[in-house]
Point group: C2
Chain length 317, copies 2
Amino acid sequence: MQDTSDSLVTVLAGGVGAARMLAGIVQVVPPANVTAIVNVGDDLELHGLRISPDLDTITYTLAGEINPDTGWGLKGESWQAMDSVRRYGGISWFGLGDRDLGTHLYRTQRFAEGATLTEITAEITDAWDLALRLLPVTDGRLRTMVTLAEGDDAGREVGFQEYFVQRQHGVPVSSVRFDGAEATAPGPDVIAALADADRVVLAPSNPIVSIDPVLAVPGVREALTARRADTVAVSPIVAGSALKGPADRLLTELGHDATVVGVARLYAPLADALVIDHADADLAGAVAAEGIRPIVAESIMKTPALAAALARTVLAG
Amino acid sequence: MQDTSDSLVTVLAGGVGAARMLAGIVQVVPPANVTAIVNVGDDLELHGLRISPDLDTITYTLAGEINPDTGWGLKGESWQAMDSVRRYGGISWFGLGDRDLGTHLYRTQRFAEGATLTEITAEITDAWDLALRLLPVTDGRLRTMVTLAEGDDAGREVGFQEYFVQRQHGVPVSSVRFDGAEATAPGPDVIAALADADRVVLAPSNPIVSIDPVLAVPGVREALTARRADTVAVSPIVAGSALKGPADRLLTELGHDATVVGVARLYAPLADALVIDHADADLAGAVAAEGIRPIVAESIMKTPALAAALARTVLAG
């Protein structure tokens, strides 16, 4: 196996799955060699605050401060502010812990002072002593919008978090759109991070609502495609199910197969190889038939050691 | 003494002193008869949040939830969000407790939804089951600006809270200005609350930075002057000192006397009577000479009973 311990690694990232993948990668290459290009389509404004859930989930996970029970938010959290909002009958479906609120207060103040999301994110990760680099895919405004397919809400388009959190992704979806994407540009260093990497990784994030919005920023898909030979994807689907979240249902609802074969079809233009779990070993041939090389491995990152092992597999390609 | 137990009472109000005065008044007349017209010149935007310190101090005091140690903020407060802001090197000189933050989150969200400060304030006071009515003097933007007089900052104009909290009102001041006042209009019901009251009260608030910004809203001074015969002021200066805050120094720095006589001179055009403390009984003649009737009373509201007694004095006029 080639020595990848000094590789430059760039990871296209959503939230929880990407955070675990990155936690594995920084065990096997120097963290300063690692760049994550992070989805901002999930971002929202609430209570006047600028909230970037995927950036924060990655930051808190890499800092060792993620709430292990929820996979989002901080350890040792308290909920006094939300209790107070609830007293007023305010919006309480999006839980903001008191510690977590400090991050949004800081981000919002810095925006008001004219800083960019890229700059603010660097300040936040510095404060947590993270050596890897988190790059929001764009400093522009990009919002993942979801059209609901059933019930009283059929045909109604809502913001991603209204679907994901408020409705607990329990409603079928008829389409997904990345509002504002065409007017955005990649953040500084995003294209260079793709061009300069020894290895590009598509994290086991939701292909529809985590990776696709990253690719919707003009120039990113082209820059990624140019690195296809060095790109490895990790399937977020194992044995026909998403490990977390609605990726399986979204794939089905939007006309894809909720299997590693469906993922292979989506990623074949972008990646040379697709890591699939041992549970899907019998589908390796069907994956290969889609034009992407299957790598069968233990892909469920239940422990830091398993995440590191998966990182080694991905980096070896 | 006339029966004032059913009077309609309207109080011009700043923060702490006004809150105590109002807590006394609602003991002696039905709270539903009481309207406070509240200063908003102290309001600020910080971390993207809309903060209205005087409205909140009154609300929390009347709800019995004010932090008794500080005179602002809530009881049982925690500081996790501010600790988190501090981690990032963010703005931490303006302390926002976690419970208190909920109020600002709610207010900011409601502004984003198009509600006015008057409407939002009614929602907040309803949530605390307050029966009295708090009216922001205006729904427009009015900001008390302070020009500093000494040191490196000489000649620099700062927002009120930068003077009051960040510099702990420890810097001499050369002038005070109410930015935006001339473009504002009184909030709904403000002028009617002055016209309809049986008794109008100038609370023992800072004449320069709490009462003056209320009077700077076009139409308020005229509406108040029209009620001069029914207006009683309470001196915030006792024995040459402010009970709280910088009223004494501000009066001196801006060329007034920091005595009940100086207060009398400011309020004589507005009020028929001025309550002064027993400590200033020897100045009653000098107060009368300014054209305002002195009422000598116990004016320091150390206990709820003393606040109620002062309220009875003020209402009897």
